[in-house]
Symmetry: C2
Subunit: 404 residues, 2 copies
């Protein structure tokens, strides 16, 4: 983040940034938030003033929580009230609190871990444990070859090996950052059943999913239940600078998150909630998601895949995870002579920034040393425009040809 933040903030020059998770600047969406803020200032100055000058409840603004609950009622029929909605300073902070709440050293002195049923998984969880023991126990995926240079990860239920003694929660992101994998409805149902069997929550990171921002290219059903903790975010609506995470969970969990927010930071920032609330109330956030944001990223994904076919060496067996959502193409270079980390270094030397895939395979305890897959993948963001992608892929193609 630091390299990336510095480059973005100070002006990156000729660096081709294919590493970052920052959402694309979508002018039609930026226009909406800019107009909303201007309207708030001119039409509801008292609302604007209160947004800046009040500490809100640590669980979030009561009106925003009401709006979210009503929205989820209408959209999905979920039996949630404002008490099932908690706000955090961004989705990552929600995970900092949730992961440490449900794993690590527990109040009865037992140790529990978060089960990641499938890695690669979001890199941002990896270092969040405040204790010294590893917070995660992860499982290798099954890899399903789809042809046409595509593959898809599947949960390997045969080898899940979760026990009620040591599991604190099951955690997945859907769509997954980095691979864009979207767990199927069947997989989610089985994980949900497993969570019930273990008596632990199933945490689903829905930052890219439905109902907003809808950066998901598969037709799957969002689920929620008392034992499911669903996290959402305003970031992928183009508002990452507001750090606004939304947690949908059992009332008790929201109360705990609220206490943690009060202790760690007194309250949340109010601005994201203030900007978006009327769009949640009116449902217009769905229109923004489905008519602007989702098509935008779907086109970007298609373009990135086309450019890969055009610019990566046709005679090498490179593959991509099927693009099912989020902002990334996840490449698999099976049999490449160098590791993804070495490829990253070579690309960086040529001003192309990607993320080497090995960082996303954390929490694996008993993996065979000969499981090369984790050193054969990279994550490439397609949030940048065609010029950046084209130049980045051209150089990636050359380095692959050199390295393979």
């Amino acid at each position: 983040m630091n390299d990336l933040g510095e480059a973005l903030a100070l002006g990156a020059g000729k660096i081709h940034l294919l590493g970052g998770g920052t959402p694309a600047q979508i002018p039609a969406v930026q226009d909406i938030w800019r107009a909303r803020m201007a309207a708030m200032i001119s039409d509801e100055p008292d609302v604007f003033d209160a947004m800046l000058s009040n500490y809100d409840q640590p669980a979030g603004n009561p009106h925003f929580r009401e709006a979210m609950a009503g929205f989820l009622n209408r959209e999905f029929g979920w039996p949630v009230t404002a008490k099932n909605i908690g706000i955090t300073n961004g989705g990552q902070t929600a995970f900092f609190m949730l992961l440490n709440r449900f794993a690590g050293r527990m109040t009865d002195d037992s140790h529990r871990k978060i089960l990641l049923p499938l890695v690669p998984e979001y890199i941002g969880y990896g270092d969040q444990g405040v204790g010294r023991d590893g917070l995660f126990t992860a499982r290798k995926p099954r890899i399903e070859e789809l042809g046409d240079r595509q593959f898809k990860y599947r949960v390997d239920f045969e080898n899940l090996n979760a026990d009620a003694e040591t599991t604190g929660a099951i955690c997945v992101s859907r769509p997954t950052n980095p691979s864009s994998n979207v767990l199927t409805d069947n997989e989610i149902t089985r994980l949900s059943d497993e969570a019930i069997r273990l008596g632990v929550p199933l945490i689903i990171d829905n930052a890219y999913g439905q109902p907003f921002p809808g950066v998901i290219f598969e037709d799957v059903t969002p689920v929620w239940d008392e034992h499911i903790i669903l996290t959402m975010s305003l970031s992928k609506l183009g508002l990452p600078g507001t750090r606004s995470g939304i947690v949908v969970a059992a009332e008790e969990t929201i109360a705990e998150l609220s206490s943690m927010t009060a202790i760690m930071g007194l309250a949340n920032n109010n601005i994201g909630q203030g900007i978006v609330k009327p769009f949640i109330e009116s449902g217009e956030v769905l229109k923004i998601s489905h008519e602007i944001i989702e098509p935008f990223y779907r086109r970007r994904s298609a373009m990135a895949q086309e450019l890969a076919h055009e610019l990566l060496p046709a005679d090498l067996p490179w593959k991509m995870h099927r693009s099912e959502g989020a902002f990334f193409i996840w490449f698999w270079f099976e049999g490449m002579k160098i590791t993804a980390k070495e490829l990253y270094d070579r690309l960086k030397a040529r001003n192309v920034i990607v993320i080497p895939g090995n960082y996303f395979f954390y929490g694996l305890e008993t993996v065979d040393d000969d499981w090369k897959h984790r050193d054969e993948c990279i994550r490439v963001s397609f949030t940048q425009g065609e010029a950046t992608l084209r130049e980045g892929f051209r150089i990636l193609g050359e380095e692959l040809a050199n390295a393979w």
Copy 2:
């Protein structure tokens, strides 16, 4: 916070809120921030868009950090650069990170504590430890009687008893929430020397102090040095809803805070920095602080003291800490028959909310059971207007007469 947040957000009705730490709504200041945001949208829409749509560096926006460093150079001559400035999601989050960095179980398996040289101290630090052992070791103050119903706390240097083995840092707030006490320049110098002797940082919470917001009624000198960690905030400029904390510290400490921010929440929210940056660059923030904010709270403090003299029983020996800054009158009811907690309950039953003082006396390890002082104080906020204060003090006066 929860009672308070709910009451504020949903409309408090007839409740007289004298408990909260929310800054007053100062129209002249609100006008400035509203005009600034409107100007950003109309004149610099790209800056506005970037503020909402970029993840910034976890240490904060580079331009804002530059601006702060330059401002502190000019104002105080401190030899700081942008690398000495770190941003957090509010001052409380800075403390969550700093206190756990410098105390608790250390990497060498030793345990260290934060030395509070004087309690009462800010309640918000009290529960921030992520480990199980107490994070604090606190010392009773010397109480100096000043006459005219006033007293002042002094650091009891004779009984500081800090050792290099177990002290992780020394921590003070200046002005102090709750008592409004401002440690003298001499006290700060001695604490700074003590920190050097122990080889630990001196953390100074400057949320109310100089150079902004300047809610400090004593003429003291702000200090910074490589071993001092000074925290500041935009909250008391009327922007608590933006959750913007500023840490001035050695480069290494800022780098550590930056890593912690990245792990805990990816990045900070950008809005507070975006609003205030030009006012830091131009120095206009000083004008706002010294010509609007400081006189406002000085008047409120004077009014609250006058109302106390008018409305509290003249025949009872109630006292106030000398009002030296911040938003609070700190009452001492020496010899009262009931505890401050019981007084709080009685006041709450009559819709007057104050904060019982005992919560601010944490970390005391070896205090005599007969030290009644900690159960004889309450904190009263004067951020609300005269009507609220007058009615609250009228009822407080009646309850004191009943209880004493």
